[in-house]
């Protein structure tokens, strides 16, 4: 029973999903929309509660056991509590019952998001430049035939897109474009074919109950 109910539900949901692809009529699409949007949203709401519970439990545990860098967990808990209170009672954009300004200083959720979360995310994103440099160094170490090919192709493409490339040979930019348009696209399409077929096969396996690893595995 523990397995039969989820498998039956998956089969029905999967079948409904396939049927929605075949039947464009609104009288059916309404149900599909309901499953995709409303039902999934309700499930998400329950899952968010569980997820936030998990987040708090992990950090409370970290503080209690004084694990490495446990002080930062306090920072998270304070930020979490402050955001929750401001968001719940102050509204998203200062439209709640709680005042979200001190003088001309606003601290509503929208302002906090735009002035704290986004700059922090941008800082992390900016680190990509350095990670790319180290990844490029790693990629260009000639260790195998594939790495040599990668190095050669990358070198040609980099030179070819610069004005220097044209001064070396007027055919070089065209050759670079050919590398990008033909071997590169051919490889990508090959992967896309595999992905598309894999998606269909995986979906079919799950709908038919052949793939059960998501239930913790087993026959």
């Amino acid at each position: 029973m523990k397995k039969t109910i989820p498998l039956t539900l998956i089969f029905i949901a999967g079948l409904l999903g396939v049927i929605s692809f075949v039947i464009p009529h609104p009288s059916y699409q309404v149900y599909d929309e309901w499953i995709r949007n409303d039902l999934l949203r309700v499930l998400s709401a329950f899952a968010v509660v569980l997820a936030l519970g998990s987040l708090l439990r992990v950090h409370f545990d970290k503080i209690r056991r004084k694990r490495k860098n446990w002080q930062f967990s306090w920072l998270l808990l304070v930020a979490f509590g402050a955001s929750a209170i401001i968001g719940l009672f102050g509204g998203v954009a200062a439209d709640g019952i709680l005042p979200t300004t001190i003088g001309s200083f606003p601290f509503d959720i929208q302002t906090l998001y735009e002035n704290i979360v986004i700059p922090l995310a941008s800082s992390m994103f900016a680190l990509l430049a350095f990670f790319m440099a180290s990844a490029a160094y790693r990629a260009f170490r000639v260790r195998s035939m594939e790495a040599t090919l990668l190095l050669g192709a990358a070198f040609i493409v980099m030179i070819g897109v610069l004005p220097l490339g044209y001064s070396i040979s007027q055919h070089l930019p065209g050759f670079v474009q050919w590398i990008l348009n033909v071997p590169n696209v051919a490889g990508q399409r090959g992967i896309v074919f595999g992905i598309a077929l894999g998606v269909v096969a995986t979906s079919l396996k799950i709908i038919l109950g052949i793939e059960r690893a998501w239930l913790g595995g087993g026959e």
Binding site: P24, H25, A51, A135, R138, A139, G198, W214
Partner: protein
């Protein structure tokens, strides 16, 4: 009247053969209007589309630029409409004859996707055929996938070093097939960590994925007879924000120093941040994603990368269950059919280029 006279004087030819029909294979609410271009098409501004419900009072419902000969109009199902198309040149208009009456309606079957249905049936049939053979006990050969063969070594290494294994599911939602494939692999990896008594860390970015992942890990530990070894805090929710999630995992990598990192699922720009940090900590890294743009980063920074379909095949490959292997075999044969069709089409395309061999033109 003055405008008509002006049109006649400047000789602005109206569009002809205006035809309106219900958009086929749609959910209703749209009529397609088509016309033959005005002979003055090169010199005009475009076309105004007019609609009437009674055949007399035409109201403008849209405009489309020159050299265009069709327009999709949003309509109410069951209401009968007629259309006129007018050539527009500055303030001048030259109207076509009205179209025949038309009413939009919703279709029950999307005939436009017929080719997809055929492919689905063909491909589904192949998979079911090989599953049937696998069920009957036929031995199926599956090529070796280095990244998946390394899983045992990776778990063993972590056990020997007494260090944890980090399993990252990426940013995907539960409806993403890459996330589902990753959850399938997580189930198999969790069984191994349970058997070897190795610590498993599974941070999540999505609340629903977190709940499913937690159940999978718990179930896997129970499956191999080690429910006592399951740590409820090993699977936890980290952050929904992309870079907050990346920063959190980077923190875990540098603090806990896992011996093995699994980066399997859907990833975006954070892929390189995670993979490079993992490489810097000296962990064995097994990555897998169907996000094409992230594959080069994983190939560069990780020891093994499951590329596209290998990610979906992983669960079958690890569990060695015949039914799952049958599905992979079916997948492979579908690829053979597609590759054959592509080669044939390319050969036909090439042959048609030679005038002497224009059999296929």
């Amino acid at each position: 009247m003055i405008l008509i006279l002006l049109c006649a004087l400047v000789g602005l030819a109206p569009p002809t053969d205006v035809r309106a029909y219900d958009t086929p294979s749609d959910g209703g609410g749209e009529v397609v209007v088509e016309w033959r271009l005005s002979t003055d098409d090169e010199t005009i501004d475009g076309y105004d589309i007019y609609r009437s419900e009674n055949g007399a009072d035409f109201v403008k419902v849209g405009f489309i630029g020159k050299n265009r000969s069709s327009y999709g109009d949003r309509t109410e199902d069951g209401v009968t409409y007629q259309y006129k198309v007018a050539v527009v040149s500055d303030t001048l208009r030259s109207f076509s004859q009205p179209s025949a009456e038309v009413a939009s309606s919703a279709s029950w079957i999307n005939v436009a996707k017929l080719n997809i249905y055929v492919a689905m049936i063909l491909f589904g049939g192949l998979i079911l055929y090989f599953i049937y053979h696998a069920r009957k006990g036929k031995k199926l050969f599956i090529r070796k996938i280095a990244g998946l063969q390394a899983i045992d070594d990776a778990v063993g290494r972590a056990t020997e070093m007494g260090k944890p294994i980090l399993y990252t599911l990426g940013l995907g939602y539960i409806e993403d097939i890459a996330t589902i494939a990753s959850l399938n692999i997580l189930g198999e990896v969790a069984k191994k960590t349970a058997q070897y008594d190795t610590k498993l860390i599974v941070p999540n970015a999505d609340p629903i994925v977190y709940t499913v992942a937690r159940e999978i890990v718990k179930e896997s530990y129970t499956k191999v007879g080690r429910p006592d070894a399951y740590d409820p805090d090993s699977v936890f929710f980290l952050a929904r924000e992309q870079m907050a999630y990346a920063a959190g995992i980077d923190g875990i990598m540098t603090r806990e120093r896992p011996a093995t990192n699994f980066l399997v699922g859907y990833f975006a720009a954070e892929s390189l941040v995670l993979a490079e940090t993992g490489a810097a900590t000296g962990a064995i890294q097994i990555a897998g994603t169907d996000a094409l743009a992230q594959l080069p980063f994983f190939v560069t920074a990780c020891d093994y990368t499951l590329i596209g379909e290998e990610l979906y095949a992983a669960s079958a490959y690890i569990s060695k269950r015949p039914l799952l292997l049958g599905a992979i075999k079916g997948e492979d044969w579908a690829k053979v059919i597609i590759a054959t069709a592509l080669i044939l089409a390319s050969v036909i395309g090439l042959l048609s280029r030679f005038p002497i061999l224009n059999l296929f033109q």
